[in-house]
Symmetry: C2
Subunit: 144 residues, 2 copies
């Protein structure tokens, strides 16, 4: 029941883009340095975010990436589901769930449905902007 590095790094990547959004593209090199994550690995992750239209890429020298939308318009759920795949705890519940031959007399599925709902309820109600706000609040307390 673990979130993989793909999902976790994607979240930090998007947050980094939101925090360092000056209008100019942000290079992966800078993100990798700040987040202490391999640049080559981040390439693969941001490629997914790019193809899904979450970020826009600018190629060539002084290129980089920018967010396509406002931080408020991304939920943590959007980002995690894109990079992790489904967040449902078993394959037989949630969206695009696979039919199970035992579903007739399966009671445990009710547990998984409650769990699925609880998980989505959390990640779909936190926006990237929330993370930015939390970050700012945290930074402030350091300054004082």
């Amino acid at each position: 029941m673990k979130i993989s590095t793909k999902g976790r790094y994607a979240l930090r990547l998007m947050l980094d883009l939101a925090i360092y959004d000056t209008g100019d593209p942000v290079s992966l090199k800078d993100i990798a340095k700040r987040q202490e994550i391999s640049e080559k690995y981040l390439e693969q992750i941001i490629s997914v975010l790019n193809k899904a239209g979450f970020v826009r890429s600018i190629r060539g020298a002084s290129g980089g990436y920018v967010l396509r939308r406002k931080p408020k318009e991304y939920t943590v759920g959007d980002i995690l589901r894109l990079t992790e795949g489904s967040l449902s705890p078993v394959s037989c519940v949630g969206v695009e769930s696979e039919e199970c031959v035992r579903s007739g007399d399966c009671v445990t599925v009710m547990v998984w449905e409650k769990l699925d709902k609880a998980i989505n309820d959390v990640v779909d109600n936190i926006s990237l902007q929330d993370l930015v706000d939390w970050h700012m609040a945290q930074s402030d307390s350091y300054v004082i």
Copy 2:
């Protein structure tokens, strides 16, 4: 973010023991047949439940397993945490969490903490007896 077969099978195993609890031990062979799970694989799973004192084993012919406590006294969380290990979505939150060098300026950890809380809140508030009740309600509807 998936619950493995170990946790899922353990839950079905415990539920089977709760449903077929006549006082006589229930053999793994019967459980395996009813649940359509490899008996050999179930051996490994019930061994963990046995060592943790969740079930009592009776060896020899006409032996088997019985629940140590009443179904009301097991939560789904107990069973899953025992067989799956920690249910926390990342290693840096929850009980026995590992310290992270970045925890100082890590904001995403707040997401994981909310998620961890939501997950535990579900599994710790469903008892094995609840599963039995749901099963009975489901069986009734089939009879009609």
